[in-house]
């Protein structure tokens, strides 16, 4: 999903070069937006959260160690920043979301699945997003979320169990 960014571009962006920073944003925007979308399930919120991620990247770029790969560092920043953004927004945004979830009558399998994922606890959603969007292994997810590997395994197991239980009554639409 994310093309390789030349080392030289990363170094220039880290030093405050705006054109290089724009190139970095163009390379990572799809990843950042999809992480944000799968943690907010709302296009407008996903866009706001992605803007916040880009601002955080701009501020924190000097902390990036160029001897390390860029993508895992960015993925961690994007995930944590989106989760923080969501946490701050919770008092105002949760109520309409909850109403929408219960009022809406899901019509197809993907919508049912989206709804079930959206109702998962936040940390489970983050695990599921990193596993199925980015196809990351358990240890990479643990590094990204800065939690032990065992915790990630538990979260993924529980997330799948919850999803299966929620989707059980609608199994025929999933097939």
């Amino acid at each position: 999903m994310t093309p390789d960014i030349p080392k030289d571009t990363l170094l220039r962006a880290r030093m405050g070069d705006r054109e290089a920073f724009r190139t970095v944003l163009e390379s990572v925007q799809k990843l950042a937006y999809n992480i944000a979308y799968r943690l907010t399930w709302n296009p407008a919120d996903a866009e706001d959260a992605t803007q916040e991620v880009f601002l955080r990247l701009f501020r924190n770029f000097p902390q990036y160690d160029p001897s390390q790969p860029f993508l895992p560092w960015f993925r961690r920043l994007a995930t944590n920043c989106t989760l923080n953004w969501k946490e701050k927004r919770r008092p105002t945004s949760e109520l309409p979301d909850q109403i929408a979830v219960h009022d809406a009558a899901p019509v197809d399998a993907s919508e049912r699945l989206h709804q079930a994922i959206r109702e998962l606890p936040q940390e489970y959603q983050a695990c599921v997003t990193l596993k199925y969007l980015e196809d990351l292994g358990v240890s990479e997810i643990a590094q990204t979320l800065q939690v032990p590997v065992g915790t990630v395994k538990t979260w993924l197991f529980r997330a799948r169990e919850i999803l299966v239980q929620k989707l059980k009554p609608h199994v025929e639409t999933l097939l």
Binding site: M1, R14, M15, G16, R18, F21, R22, L25, E26, Q29, K30, A32, Y33, N34, Y37, R38, P43, E47, T50, Q51, F54, L55, F58, R59, N60, F61, P62, A109, S110, L113, H114, V128, K131, Y132, L133, R160, L163, V164, L167, K168, V171, L174, L175
Partner: protein, 114 residues
Amino acid sequence: MMSNCDDTRDHLETCEDCRLHVVVEARMRTLPVLEPPQGLVERAMKALPRVAPVKREFFRLAAAAVMLVGLSVAALNSGLDETPAVASVKARTGQAIETTSAMFNVWRSELWKH
């Protein structure tokens, strides 16, 4: 290996729970990857602060250095320590400040002439 696959298939045919697990797992892998909205990067670039963090860091360091020098000069001139070493540093610092001030005055008067 073949018998393993056959066993798994046989099990899936009879176990609805495991079948559902497989289906959910497969569905999760096919969730669509979305294209970001048009102009997302442009809007982000416009919202960025004008001063890059590295430059801001430089200004902070410069301000800290100026404060440090100022405090050192103040400490020297406060007269708390009158040992020969401190007195010698104080004299040299005074000379340096006088020379800098004189140079600045000359430069300023030259500037006014033109």
